[in-house]
C-alpha cells in the first residue's frame, strides 16, 4: 500500500507491505540506518524517533500509522551542519561507547528537554526508563543531557 509522510523535513511516498514496522521502513526503505533495533519489543529504546514531535519507539509502530506524519530521526537532528546541543553534549561528556543506544538516547532526551528545560538528575534517570545502555552505566549520559540542557537554555535566552 501507499504511504506518504515527511522524514527529516523531506516528503516521500513509498509502496509498502502493510505489516512493515516503522523502524524497518525507516531503515530498509528510507535508508536511514541511524535508528537501531535492539529488541523489537519496545523495551530497549534503541529505535526511538520523533513522530509529530514526540518520542516513539518505532519498533512498535506500524509504518502505516505514520501516514501523513512528520518524523524526525537522528539523521535529521543536526541543522545546517551544526550538531544539536544534545549531540554535542554526548560527544563532550563521553555519553557513548559502542554508540548503539545513542541515537535512541538522544531522541528520548530531546523529547525530555522539550518538556522540561532544566531536569534534575533524578528526573533524567526516570525519563530514560525506556532506554537501555549497556556500556556507559548512564552517568556520562546524564551529564551529557544536563550539559545540553544548559546550552539550550542559554541559546534560548540569547
Amino acid at each position: 500500500m501507499r504511504l506518504s509522510l515527511t522524514i527529516n523535513g523531506e516528503r516521500r511516498e513509498d509502496d509498502i507491505d502493510p505489516r512493515t514496522l516503522l523502524v524497518h521502513y525507516l531503515r530498509d526503505i528510507a535508508g536511514l540506518t541511524g535508528t537501531h533495533v535492539g529488541c523489537e519489543t519496545s523495551l530497549c529504546g534503541a529505535c526511538t524517533v520523533h513522530l509529530n514531535g514526540h518520542a516513539v519507539k518505532s519498533c512498535t509502530v506500524l509504518a502505516v500509522q505514520a501516514e501523513g506524519a512528520e518524523i524526525t530521526t537522528i539523521e535529521g537532528l543536526a541543522r545546517g551542519g551544526q550538531l544539536h546541543p544534545l549531540q554535542e553534549g554526548f560527544w563532550e561528556e563521553h555519553g557513548l561507547q559502542c554508540g548503539y543506544c545513542t541515537p535512541g538516547m538522544i531522541m528520548a532526551a530531546a523529547d525530555l528537554l522539550a518538556r522540561n528545560r532544566n531536569p534534575t538528575e533524578t528526573q533524567i534517570r526516570e525519563a530514560l526508563e525506556g532506554n537501555l545502555c549497556r556500556c556507559t552505566g548512564y552517568q556520562h549520559i546524564i551529564n551529557a543531557i544536563q550539559s545540553a540542557a544548559a546550552k539550550m537554555r542559554t541559546q534560548k535566552a540569547a
Binding site: T41, L83, L96
Partner: protein, 780 residues
C-alpha cells in the same frame, strides 16, 4: 605556527563519536548489498529432545523463499562450531542440530528468503517431529547417577575435572583457629550487548573471495575458524567487524550463524544476512559465570587467612563454545585476590547441562574469583568481630613484595593495595559513615558499608598461557604508516567496539611523532586491510595493542631519524619529533619540517644508504607477563526491611589501571563496568525452569539495569605503572565489573548484620532480601 599540544593524559573527545552521534556509523545490520537475501533460524523449543523428522517441503514452497535447510543437509558441508580450549569431553557441535537438540534455542533449520518477513513466515511452515527427553539444568544434579545424559558418547555429563592440589592447605587447616565453610554461587548472566549478533556474507565466485561482516570482537580469529569450518583458504576470506554495538565477551566467539551465512552465500551465489533477534540473543548467545563454589577457609583469630580450599562446579551448558572450559581456570588462579594467602588448592568439575553454553562475560572468571576472595575477607571479619577494612589490610600483599608470586602460581606485576583502600575509605569518610550507620541502626534504619579490594588479570601473555589450539596467542600487532602527505595511518590488530582506541592510539601517535591528533587515522576490524591481530577482550586493547603500536612507532621514528640525520648532518640519536618537525633535542629551533623527511623517503630521488624507500612499520608484541590492575570500591547502601529494596547512598571507586592515557575514556570504562557488576549483585540472573525452558528471554524478564536503578559513581584513581609494558598501562575494561559485585554484596550484608544474616546468594533482589530478614526475625 601554532604549537601542537600533547594529547596523552588529556580528556580528549572521542574521534569515533561524530559518526555515532549522527547515525552514520555502520553496524552489521546496516550493511546493504544488491540482491541480498535474509536468513532466519528456526530454534528448538525443547531443552532436550530427539528429532524424529523435519518436513521442510511446505516452507520451501512458499513464494519468495530461496532455500530451507536442516542440520542433515549440512552434514560434511560445514564443519562443527569450534572449541579451542582443552577439555576431556569436547562434543561434536553441528551448526544446526543433527538428530537431537540439547538446549532451548539451538538452531534446527534455516530459511533464506528475499526478506526477513518471508523467511520468518517460512519457519512457521516447518514441521519438526520431536520426542522430548528429560532435561537436566542443575549442574550438581547433572552429575548424579541416572541423570539424563546430553552427549551419550561420554556416558555422563562431565566435561572435565581439573585439580590443583596442595598439601600445605591441609597443614594450614590443622593449625587454623577456625575453618570457615561456605557455598557461594556466581549466578548465570547474559551479556546483552545492545546490538545483538549478526552476520552478512558475500561470496564472489569470480574472484573466489568470501567477505563476512560480523558483529565480532575477533575478526582474525573468526577468519581462521571459518576457514576450517568452510574449507576455504584464509587468503580467500575477508572478515570485517564493522561498528560493533557492544560485546562484553559474548562476541569473543565463533558462532554457527557466521558459518551458516557464509555457506549459504557460497551455495546460493547471493549475499545473505542474518540478524539475531533479542529473544534469540537471550537463548543462543553465550552466557557467563554460572559457578558454584564450596569453600573452606583457614583463618587465625587476628584475621589472617592462611589457606583457601575450593571445590567448583561450573556449568558449561550443552556444548562448548570457543573458550567455554577455559574460563573457570581464572576463577581458581585468582581466588586469593589481593592477599598473601600462602596456601591454595582447588578443583573444578565442569558439567554439561541443557542450557546455552557459558563463555567469557566481562571479567571472565575473575569476577567470580574476586567475589570469593572478598566474601572470604568479610566472613573472616564477621567470624572474629573485626573491621572488614582491617582484615583486608592484615592480609594484603604489601607493596614491597612486588613483583609478587601468588599461591595460584602467577606473578603480580605491581601494586599498592593499601593505598587504594585507604584512599577509598578516606573519600567515603569511613569513620563518619560507620558512626552514621550506628546512629541509623538506633532509629531502625539499616545502612551498610561494603568494601571490595580487587586485583584482576589483563592482557594475558605470554602466548603459552593461551589454549594450544587457539590460532594466535597473547600477542598483538600494529602497523604504522606515514603517508606521503605526512598523515598517519595506524592499523591495529585489536578490534575495539566502544573502548575508543581510535582515540587513544591517535593520542599516542600524535605525541610520539609531534603531529596533530587530526593527522592520525586508526583503522581496525578488517582482515583484508589489517595484518593478523588477536582482537579486543580481556582488557587487552591498550595493554597489548598499545605496546605493539609503540614498537612500530619506534621503528618508524628510527627510520625517519636516519633520513633526517643525513639531511641535517647530525647524529640520529640527537633528534626528536616536535611540532611537525624533526629537531635537534638540545636546540629544537634547529629543525627540518617532517614533510621534508617524508618526501625524501617516498620520493627517494637521493638514495639514502641503508634506508629503504617508503615509511611504514609493522610489529608483533609478545607480552612477557599479564598485567594486574587493582583497586578498592566502597558502597554505602540502605536496605528497607519492609520491602527488601536496596538503595544506594554512595558509591566510591578507586581504581589503579597503571598509567592513564585517556582519563575520560577510563572513567567511561569504569562506569560501565560498575553498572554490570552491580547488576550481578542486585538484579540479573538467567533462569531456566526444571524442564530447561528459558524463563528470562526478554528484557522484561531479565533485569538489565535502567538509569534509575544505578547510583552516581564517585571515581578516583591511584597510579601504579605496570613494569610489563612500555606504556605502563594495566587495562581497565573489566576492572569495574570485578570490584563492584562483591562490594555491593558486602554492603547489603553489612546492612543486614543486626539480623544475624551473613550471606544471601546473588542477585539480592528485594524478595530474597525481604525473605531472609523475615526468616531471621522468625528464628530470632
Amino acid at each position: 605556527m601554532a604549537v601542537i599540544p600533547k594529547f596523552v593524559g588529556e580528556r580528549i573527545k572521542r574521534r569515533e563519536d561524530p559518526r555515532l552521534i549522527t547515525g552514520t556509523g555502520m553496524y552489521v545490520d546496516d550493511v546493504r548489498l544488491p540482491g541480498m537475501l535474509s536468513a532466519v533460524v528456526l530454534r528448538s523449543p525443547h531443552a532436550h529432545a530427539k528429532i524424529n523428522s523435519i518436513d521442510l517441503s511446505k516452507a520451501r514452497a512458499l513464494k519468495g523463499v530461496v532455500c530451507v535447510l536442516s542440520g542433515d543437509d549440512l552434514r560434511d558441508k560445514v564443519g562443527p562450531v569450534p572449541c579451542v580450549a582443552p577439555a576431556d569431553h569436547v562434543p561434536y557441535h553441528p551448526v544446526l542440530a543433527q538428530g537431537k537438540v540439547r538446549f532451548v534455542g539451538e538452531g534446527v533449520a534455516v530459511a533464506v528468503a528475499s526478506s526477513p518477513y518471508i523467511a520468518q513466515d517460512a519457519l512457521d511452515l516447518i514441521d519438526v517431529d520431536y520426542d522430548p527427553l528429560d532435561a537436566v539444568v542443575d549442574p550438581e544434579k547433572a552429575l548424579e547417577p541416572g541423570a539424563p545424559v546430553l552427549h551419550e558418547e561420554f556416558g555422563n555429563n562431565s566435561v572435565t575435572f581439573a585439580s590443583v592440589p596442595n598439601p600445605a592447605v591441609d597443614e594450614a587447616m590443622r593449625k587454623a583457629d577456625k575453618i570457615i565453610k561456605a557455598r557461594l554461587v556466581n549466578q548465570r548472566l547474559a551479556p546483552i550487548p545492545m546490538e545483538p549478533r549478526g552476520a552478512v556474507a558475500r561470496w564472489d565466485g569470480g574472484y573466489k573471495q568470501l567477505t563476512v561482516w560480523s558483529s565480532t570482537q575477533i575478526p582474525h580469529l573468526l577468519r581462521s575458524q571459518l576457514a576450517e569450518m568452510l574449507k576455504v583458504g584464509e587468503n580467500r576470506i575477508r572478515v570485517i567487524a564493522p561498528e560493533v554495538g557492544g560485546g562484553f565477551g559474548c562476541k569473543l566467539n565463533v558462532y554457527a550463524e557466521e558459518a551458516l551465512v557464509a555457506h549459504l552465500s557460497m551455495t546460493l551465489g547471493k549475499p545473505v544476512k542474518w540478524i539475531e533477534r533479542r529473544r534469540e540473543n537471550f537463548a543462543g548467545t553465550t552466557h557467563g559465570r554460572d559457578q558454584i563454589t564450596y569453600l573452606e577457609v583457614a583463618a587465625l583469630k587476628d584475621g589472617t587467612v592462611t589457606a583457601v580450599k575450593a571445590h567448583f562446579v561450573c556449568d558449561m551448558g550443552a556444548y562448548l563454545q570457543l573458550l567455554t572450559p577455559a574460563i573457570p581456570g581464572f576463577s581458581g588462579l585468582m581466588m586469593t585476590g589481593c592477599y598473601k594467602i600462602p596456601a591454595l588448592s582447588f578443583d573444578q568439575q565442569m558439567v554439561f547441562t541443557n542450557k546455552m553454553s557459558t563463555d567469557a562475560y566481562r571479567g571472565a572468571g575473575r569476577p567470580e574469583a574476586c567475589y570469593i576472595a572478598e566474601r572470604v575477607m568479610d566472613m573472616v571479619a564477621a567470624e572474629f568481630g573485626l573491621d572488614p577494612a582491617d582484615v583486608r589490610r592484615k592480609n594484603f600483599i604489601p607493596k614491597e613484595a612486588f613483583p609478587a608470586p601468588t599461591a595460584g602460581g602467577l606473578v603480580y606485576d605491581s601494586g599498592d593495595y593499601e593505598l587504594s583502600l585507604n584512599k577509598a575509605l578516606e573519600i567515603v569518610g569511613y569513620q563518619k559513615v560507620r558512626a552514621e550507620q550506628e546512629a541509623a541502626r538506633k532509629q531502625g534504619r539499616y545502612i551498610g558499608i561494603g568494601i571490595a579490594s580487587y586485583v584482576e588479570i589483563c592482557g594475558i601473555g605470554p602466548s603459552a598461557l593461551l589454549p594450544p589450539k587457539l590460532k594466535g596467542g597473547g600477542w598483538e600487532s600494529a602497523t604504522i604508516r606515514m603517508e606521503p602527505d605526512c598523515k598517519v595511518t595506524v592499523l591495529t590488530g585489536v578490534s575495539p567496539h566502544g573502548q575508543g582506541q581510535e582515540t587513544t592510539f591517535a593520542q599516542i601517535v600524535a605525541d610520539e611523532l609531534g603531529i596533530d591528533i587530526d593527522d592520525v587515522n586508526v583503522v581496525h576490524g578488517d582482515t583484508a586491510v589489517v595484518q593478523y591481530g588477536i582482537g579486543t577482550f580481556g582488557s587487552r586493547g591498550t595493554t597489548v595493542g598499545g605496546p605493539a603500536l609503540m614498537m612500530s612507532v619506534g621503528k618508524l621514528q628510527e627510520k625517519m631519524k636516519k633520513i633526517a640525520s643525513t639531511m641535517m648532518e647530525v647524529p640520529p640519536d640527537q633528534l626528536i619529533f616536535t611540532n611537525r618537525t624533526v629537531a635537534l633535542a638540545s636546540d629544537p629551533s634547529k629543525s627540518i619540517p617532517l614533510q621534508q623527511v617524508v618526501d625524501a623517503a617516498y620520493g627517494y630521488k637521493q638514495p639514502i644508504p641503508g634506508v629503504e624507500p617508503g615509511l611504514d612499520a609493522t610489529s608483533f608484541y609478545e607480552p612477557q607477563n599479564c598485567t594486574f590492575p587493582f583497586g578498592t570500591h566502597v558502597a554505602v547502601v540502605e536496605v528497607d526491611p519492609e520491602t527488601g529494596v536496596v538503595k544506594f547512598l554512595r558509591y566510591v571507586a578507586v581504581d589503579d589501571c597503571g598509567r592513564i592515557l585517556s582519563p575520560l575514556l577510563v572513567e567511561g570504562q569504569v562506569h560501565g563496568g560498575i553498572a554490570q557488576g552491580i547488576a550481578q549483585a542486585l538484579y540479573e540472573e538467567v533462569v531456566y525452569d526444571e524442564s530447561g525452558q528459558l524463563l528470562t528471554a526478554t528484557l522484561m524478564d531479565y533485569a538489565v539495569p535502567k538509569a534509575h536503578m544505578l547510583p552516581r559513581y564517585e571515581l578516583s584513581a591511584t597510579v601504579t605503572p605496570s613494569p610489563v609494558n612500555v606504556l605502563g598501562v594495566k587495562g581497565v575494561g573489566e576492572a569495574g565489573t570485578i570490584g563492584s559485585t562483591p562490594c555491593v554484596v558486602s554492603a547489603v550484608m553489612d546492612a543486614l548484620k543486626p539480623f544475624g544474616i551473613r550471606h544471601i546468594d546473588m542477585p539480592l533482589k528485594p524478595e530474597k532480601v525481604w525473605r531472609a530478614i523475615r526468616d531471621a526475625q522468625q528464628k530470632g
